[in-house]
């Protein structure tokens, strides 16, 4: 017995002293990859840029909420504040608005990831030059896309160009003009490094013309019409893009990676958490739903869709009040669910919500963990309309303008615009065309902001549209969203007085 104890004792001692070895302390995170083992190969660089793409899937961005901002336009209105959007409709949003903070955080996540990848990839040694340049160009696109949205919503914002560090150094607000100047020169320098087309296995990755479109949008927002027209012209002249023939099915998975798409955020259903939440299933075998429940499609918007003869319903010869949903611009039924008997079979209509969104909806009984639908960020129809707008503003309604509009209207078999419109009439026509073409795609709110029409729409309603009762606009305040309170609280370079006016 004594011997046994002696052995046990010795064992304990031995184990005790063995454990002094320092290697026992090398506990490397087994769940993530450490910085010192990363950024070594080209594959790492691609994993890095993939993370930037993935940031756009955020539910606050293209994963869900992005297109709901159309509820702040002539297209729809909100009947609850679950998403925080309605507070911006009723003029009640404060600096602690969760939406203001979430949108801000989401875009800055993309910016920081892009800055990080650009910085790391520019310092890598084991990488081919074209791959390096391409990835850096992708970073500059994503940074630009983010700043386009941020400046539109918040005005001057911190301009971050460098890789993030763990130090919270903070940054002051940079004027919109300076941010634009920086992004435009950055895009111009990087666009040539992107490929014109990508192989199918890389579908969804950025092409030159997508970046060209973003550049054009910056010029357009800047009201630099000539440059905008030039940028969009390059896209059109590349002849790589055309409209998808069927407007209705285009907004289902069959339209993905089609020639109309310049840039889309890729989503897939299935087990990997890559699904989205903005599309929806209309399933007549279940209790019917109201798509985008909080959204109320505005009746004046529904009524504004023309009859197939190109006239308003009031003036049309082919439209009949007995069959109000027939002989209309096909975009009407493709965009909205109505009280047409065929529609009523697939959606739950209530008096308070007479028109609901149909775009990006599927009639199916298949259940998805997350939706399978790509979100089309830039599409060719938008490019054509933006080109028309830029040319009309720069030189007036010439044939270029008419031709661009014709392409868009031809797809839905709507007649051409009458010839000889004035520049102002053409401006209105283009704006209305965008309303019909791009409904529920999250573009209208940004359009209204850049046209300076938000206040009018909120306080008076669009021409021919009733004012939405709950809308309120406080001048010198509601032009911009509040800088998130947490930004002001925690950014060492910002003072409370750096808040936007009125908050």
């Amino acid at each position: 017995m004594n011997k046994i104890i002696k052995y046990i004792f010795l064992t304990f001692l031995t184990i005790g002293f063995l454990s002094c070895n320092d290697s026992y302390f090398e506990k490397v995170d087994p769940n993530n990859v450490a910085e010192e083992n990363f950024w070594k190969t080209e594959k790492d660089a691609v994993i890095g840029i993939t993370g930037v793409y993935s940031s756009l899937q955020n539910g606050t961005l293209y994963g869900n909420l992005y297109r709901e901002f159309d509820a702040l336009s002539e297209i729809a209105s909100m009947n609850n504040n679950a998403s925080g959007v309605r507070a911006f409709e009723t003029g009640e949003a404060l600096s602690n608005s969760p939406l203001a903070e979430n949108v801000w955080t989401a875009w800055y996540t993309t910016i920081n990831r892009a800055n990080l990848v650009a910085d790391k990839v520019s310092k890598m040694t084991n990488i081919s030059e074209p791959v390096r340049k391409r990835i850096i160009a992708e970073c500059s696109f994503f940074r630009g896309l983010s700043y386009l949205h941020l400046t539109s919503l918040y005005g001057a914002v911190p301009l971050l160009k460098d890789a993030p560090t763990s130090q919270n150094k903070g940054a002051v607000r940079t004027s919109v003009a300076d941010i634009y100047a920086f992004i435009i020169s950055d895009l111009n320098a990087n666009i040539p490094n992107l490929p014109l087309t990508v192989p199918a296995a890389e579908n969804g990755r950025l092409t030159q013309m997508a970046a060209q479109t973003l550049l054009g949008k910056f010029y357009l927002y800047q009201k630099n019409w000539q440059a905008a027209a030039g940028a969009f012209k390059k896209v059109i002249d590349s002849k790589l893009y055309s409209l998808y023939p069927d407007y209705t099915t285009y907004f289902t998975p069959v339209g993905e990676f089609s020639k109309e798409n310049l840039f889309e955020v890729v989503f897939q259903d299935g087990p990997f958490g890559e699904g989205e939440s903005f599309s929806f299933n209309l399933d007549s075998t279940l209790a019917l739903i109201t798509p985008l429940g909080g959204h109320v499609g505005i009746t004046d918007y529904a009524n504004s869709f023309l009859a197939t003869d190109g006239e308003t319903t009031a003036k049309s010869k082919v439209w009949k009040s007995a069959t109000p949903h027939q002989n209309r611009d096909p975009r009407y039924r493709a965009t909205l669910l109505t009280n047409d008997p065929a529609d009523l079979k697939i959606w739950r209509r209530v008096a308070a919500n007479p028109f609901a969104c149909r775009k990006y909806g599927r009639v199916t009984s298949q259940v998805f963990l997350g939706g399978p639908q790509n979100f089309y960020v830039f599409r060719y129809a938008d490019v054509l309309l933006m080109y028309a707008e830029a040319v009309n503003e720069a030189t007036g309604p010439n044939t270029e303008v008419y031709n661009s509009l014709k392409v868009v209207r031809d797809r839905v078999k709507m007649p051409n615009l009458v010839a000889g419109l004035s520049q102002t009439a053409m401006r209105d026509a283009i704006r209305t065309e965008r309303l019909w073409e791009l409904g529920f795609e999250g573009i209208r709110y940004y359009d209204l902001r850049r046209w300076g029409l938000l206040e009018t729409i909120f306080t008076k309603g669009a021409p021919g549209f009733a004012k939405v009762t709950q809308r309120k606009f406080t001048p010198n305040r509601d032009e911009f969203w509040p800088i998130p309170q947490r930004e002001i609280d925690n950014n060492p370079q910002l003072k409370p007085t750096d808040q936007n006016q009125g908050y």
Partner: protein, 1006 residues
């Protein structure tokens, strides 16, 4: 499997032990009395050098047969000095035991050893668990409430398996994890394991509060240390079998009262400025429309009186060579919320063998197997549903189907997200099973006189399994349309295996030099390795709700897993020196190295020094007979905290930011946590001054401790501006927090003829202040951490009543344009005419100014009674949300006080604001929602009767005691509708309620 194995070894022991006892002849008898001539009951009498023994009966009489060569009898009794009497030829012994007039000769468990209480220089509290073992509780931690000064325990809930309290030792020392270290028989464990021990297997609990006592645990001691010592067999102990049972009924301490259906409709109409259809209220009140206009009280439907029962058997015994203590416990508990229940089995076997004169070795095995069940919908969500459901929907329609839908009865009341709370308690499951097994082997070797070597190896494994299942279902509304539907069954199975291994080796040396110089030295080494591995699988769509195995899932199977590891290596030492038992000195040093820190700065030193002066041992106090003890203590030391997450020093990328290109899914990198390679240890410096006093032959004792606890370099993720994107901030050594406080314990013991009376009380008070936070503020919701104020203070507007007139409304500062007459009015701190972020100020905090506990025990012949009160003073809670909102959420129900108390034009002096759906002022953090939650609670009481031994002896029962016990039977508080005892960060009024328990029990000793 393990349970079976345990049962077998348990039975084996029962059989083996009797063989260790041997029989011989010679009968002795006598009586034992105290010096007042009163018979002493239960005095233990042992034959010296043998395992043989007996106890005195109710009349103080005893009888014992001893061997021919037995030398002497030893009489021992708690609170009395042991007496040894030679046997010689005497056959009748009339013994007078003297009260132990130096209770401080008591030995106290400290880190890596024991110390005479008289020689302690640190701040230490102790508790013998026999005082609390019959409390009708399932969680040992909750039984400690109010028992020790400096220990603040807040129990939030009575949910089976989920009643873990918030535990604080001497205030809030850090911003992150404030849990104290738990050490069970030398094994560095955690609060979960402590809470799952039964009081029947625990001998004593020691709380190490200051640096002098805790520094020996170095980097893990900054939040205090709780030492648990389990029961062991004793040499020469006769076999004792204890069989303890209780059965209790639990009921919620408090359930909120809500308005009735008609009142709800009125309030809802108020909130939206709507008008109710004529006659609607009459229809509701008529009770004639039970399907569409019901008047359900949901809280009454969901809660019930639920049973709890507990059985525990333990056997203790031993010979000179081998001692053991074995126990087996089982507890079954139904939850007060329908659909919740749990049970737990505990097992323990402690053995120790005297291998030789100088070597002893042993094996301790213990653990638990626990199970808990709740419905798929978690209990907090069900609490939310109760608070969000008006009574208009019936529990079941008159056709027997579940009520699932609120019928639209007037225009704006479209309310689609009603969920029947009672129905939710029946759907699906969230079952958790956890098996914990600890094996500890030890050897203690006397290398030379006074020099002992101890080696302890402990391995612990916890295997936790989760089974979460949501079945398919379809519940139809009144019109027979499917309304509440789930078409996809969902199963999640998860498993976490946690392993911890600990090796300890240490030497202890004790010697007295020249009569007056007592020296004790300790030196040791310790190594801890921790690893936990988590894995889960999700699957959807199963053949039926009964065939639920993961491989039958038809779609969307997905998995996730992660691993966490850390290691800690330590060297420690302690030196005690006492001169003539008058002047005491102690020094501790621990050197810790942790894997959580970068290798450049892995090790840190944690020293402490303390001195004590036993003033009563000085000549000038020798004559002061009323003063039994007067001791002054002082200590200083540094402690550490390494509770900072495992991998915070190295920047890593999370590759789960996947993205499809074409049809190919690609890894994508993103930073989830920013790293800080410059991370350092968090150190706490505690200064403590204490005074121990005892008067009147130790009838009254009092201890008072004053402390100053400064934690510096607190590791904290200082909030980042959102422009840094969606990443977790790096952990930085950024903050410092100071706690200053006082702990006071008093104890009084007396005996008036046959009445034994003890009274014990304790008070803890502390102030907490953030001294430094890099000049920044960390605002998170309604809480702020900012310099000069306590951690997590409430932050918001100061309420200034209501706008009561149009005039006031017009001229007052407002948050925007939404305020109306009757809205909350706030103080415009910066006088700029607008209520905005700049008007937010610190509004107090949730930490109590005082927390206290007192208990009294009475014993009279066979009767005994215990009353145990706890309370806090100066505690504030943020009391907004569920039931307590001014109408700004459509589906919210209202506490009944809103009906009479809300502002309306007819009630212009109302205390509560007007109901109103929109407007930021309703939800804004403000002092309006802060309520005082002081309380005094009869936490436990117990009334017992021990049936006279002469009766029970006939059934060979040594002791038979029956008792009733109650928990939370009385509460005095001003706050309504919520339990005043709740977590400091709880602001949502949706925690599972506490229970009031009434129980009946039997203790049997054979």
């Amino acid at each position: 499997m393990t349970k079976n194995l345990f049962k077998k070894s348990f039975i084996l022991f029962i059989f083996i032990c009797p063989f260790l006892l041997m029989a011989q002849q010679k009968n002795l008898n006598g009586t034992v009395k105290d010096n007042s001539g009163e018979a002493l009951v239960g005095v233990s009498i042992t034959v010296k050098g043998t395992q043989r023994g007996t106890t005195t009966d109710a009349n103080g009489k005893f009888q014992i047969s001893v061997g021919q060569n037995a030398k002497s009898l030893v009489f021992s009794f708690v609170g009395f000095t042991n007496q040894e009497i030679p046997i010689g030829s005497t056959k009748i012994f009339d013994v007078v035991l003297l009260e132990d007039d130096n209770a401080l000769s008591e030995v106290v468990v400290v880190g890596y050893g024991t110390q005479k209480k008289a020689n302690l220089t640190g701040a230490v509290s102790t508790l013998q668990t026999k005082d609390i073992e019959n409390f009708p509780q399932s969680n040992l931690l909750n039984m400690l409430q109010g028992q020790m000064s400096g220990l603040t325990i807040t129990q939030p809930s009575a949910q089976p398996g989920n009643d873990q309290p918030e535990v604080l030792v001497r205030g809030v020392g850090t911003i992150g994890n404030t849990s104290p270290l738990v050490v069970i028989d030398g094994f560095q464990s955690n609060l979960t394991q402590l809470s799952n021990l039964t009081p029947n297997e625990v001998e004593s609990i020691t709380l190490l509060k200051d640096a002098a006592s805790a520094a020996i645990y170095g980097s893990r001691s900054a939040n205090g240390v709780i030492l648990v010592t389990t029961k062991k067999g004793e040499k020469g102990d006769k076999m004792v079998v204890n069989f303890d049972n209780f059965y209790g009924i639990q009921r919620a301490t408090i359930l909120p009262e809500y308005v009735n259906s008609a009142q709800w409709l009125e309030l809802d109409a108020d909130a939206i400025n709507g008008t109710l259809p004529t006659g609607l209220l009459d229809r509701v009140n008529s009770g004639l429309y039970p399907d569409s206009l019901s008047n359900t009280v949901w809280a009454n439907e969901v809660f019930r009186d639920a049973p709890i029962r507990n059985h525990n058997i333990s056997i203790r015994g031993g010979s000179n060579k081998l001692v053991f203590q074995a126990s087996l416990g089982y507890q079954q508990q139904d939850g007060i919320m329908k659909g919740t229940n749990g049970d737990r089995t505990n097992f323990r076997l402690n053995t120790r063998a005297e291998v030789s004169k100088r070597v002893s070795a042993g094996l301790n095995i213990w653990g638990f197997n626990r199970f808990s069940h709740e419905p798929f919908t978690d209990v907090n969500s069900i609490m939310n549903r109760i608070a969000q459901s008006s009574g208009l929907v019936p529990v079941r329609y008159s056709n027997g189907n579940w009520g699932v839908r609120y019928e639209a009865i007037y225009n704006n009341a479209i309310w689609n997200n009603f969920r029947n709370p009672l129905l939710l308690t029946t759907i699906g499951r969230n079952d958790n099973k956890s098996l914990n097994l600890n094996v500890q082997g030890f050897a203690i070797i006397e290398l030379a006189k006074g020099l002992t070597f101890s080696s302890i190896t402990t391995a612990s494994r916890t295997n936790a399994n989760g089974n979460l299942f949501n079945p398919t279902y379809e519940y139809t509304d009144l019109q027979g349309r499917p309304f509440f539907v789930n078409r996809r069954a969902y199963l999640r199975e998860s498993n976490t295996v946690t392993d911890q291994t600990q090796l300890q080796n240490y030497l202890t040396y004790t010697k007295t030099f020249n009569k007056f110089h007592d020296v004790t030295l300790l030196a040791g080494h310790e190594f801890i390795n921790f690893k936990s591995k988590f894995f889960r699988v999700d699957g959807f769509d199963f053949p039926s709700n009964d065939v639920v195995q993961m491989d039958r899932a038809l779609s969307d199977i997905s998995t996730e897993g992660n691993t966490n590891e850390w290691a800690l290596q330590s060297f420690f030492g302690r030196a005690n020196y006492a001169f003539k038992n008058k002047y005491l000195f102690e020094a501790n040093l621990r050197v810790d190295g942790s894997s959580r820190f970068p290798d450049t700065d892995r090790y840190a030193f944690f020293p402490s020094f303390s001195v004590g002066w036993n003033i009563t041992n000085e000549a000038f106090l020798k004559e002061v007979s009323w003063l039994s003890t007067l001791k002054l203590r002082a200590s200083w030391g540094k402690l550490g905290n390494d509770n900072i997450g495992n991998y915070t020093a190295i920047q890593t990328y999370n590759l789960e930011n996947n993205y499809y290109f074409g049809n190919v899914l690609n890894f994508g990198a993103g930073i989830s946590n920013l790293a800080n390679p410059e991370i350092r240890w968090e150190t706490t410096t505690i200064q403590n001054i204490g005074l121990d006093m005892a008067f009147l032959k130790n009838k009254i004792t009092a201890n008072i401790d004053l402390y100053d606890r400064l934690t510096d370099g607190i590791l904290y993720r200082l909030p980042l501006p959102p422009s840094m994107g969606n990443v977790n901030a790096p952990v930085q050594n950024i903050a410092s927090v100071r706690n200053r406080g006082l702990d006071l314990d008093v104890f009084y013991r007396t005996k008036i003829k046959k009445l034994n009376l003890t009274f014990g009380g304790n008070i803890s008070s502390f102030t907490n202040k953030v001294e430094k936070l890099n000049g920044q503020q960390a605002i998170s919701g309604r809480f702020i951490i900012t310099e000069g104020h306590p951690i997590n203070s409430y932050f918001g507007y100061v309420n200034d009543g209501l706008f009561r007139t149009e005039e006031e409304l017009k001229n007052g500062a407002k948050t925007g344009t939404s305020e109306v007459v009757g809205s909350l009015r706030f103080v415009d701190q910066d006088k700029n005419g607008v209520i905005n972020a700049l008007d937010r100020v610190v509004l107090g905090n949730s930490l109590p100014k005082f927390s206290y506990g007192f208990s009294t025990r009475l014993g009279y012949v066979g009767f005994d009674a215990t009353l145990n009160f706890i309370g806090v003073a100066g505690k504030n809670v943020y009391n907004y949300e569920n039931g307590n909102r001014p109408g700004n959420l459509a589906q919210m129900n209202y506490w009944s006080r809103w009906y009479e108390g809300r502002w309306t034009p007819d009630n212009p002096d109302a205390p509560l604001p007007a109901l109103k759906r929109q407007g930021p002022e309703n939800a804004a953090a403000s002092s309006f929602w802060i309520d005082n939650a002081d309380f005094l609670r009869l936490k436990n009481f117990e009334l017992g009767y021990t049936i006279p031994k002469k009766i029970t002896k006939k059934a060979s029962i040594e002791r038979l005691r029956v008792y009733i016990a109650g928990q939370n039977m009385l509460t005095f508080t001003k706050i309504v509708n919520v339990d005043p005892e709740r977590f400091s960060n709880d602001i949502s009024n949706n925690s599972y309620p506490q229970a009031r328990v009434m129980s009946f029990g039997i203790n049997t000793t054979f």
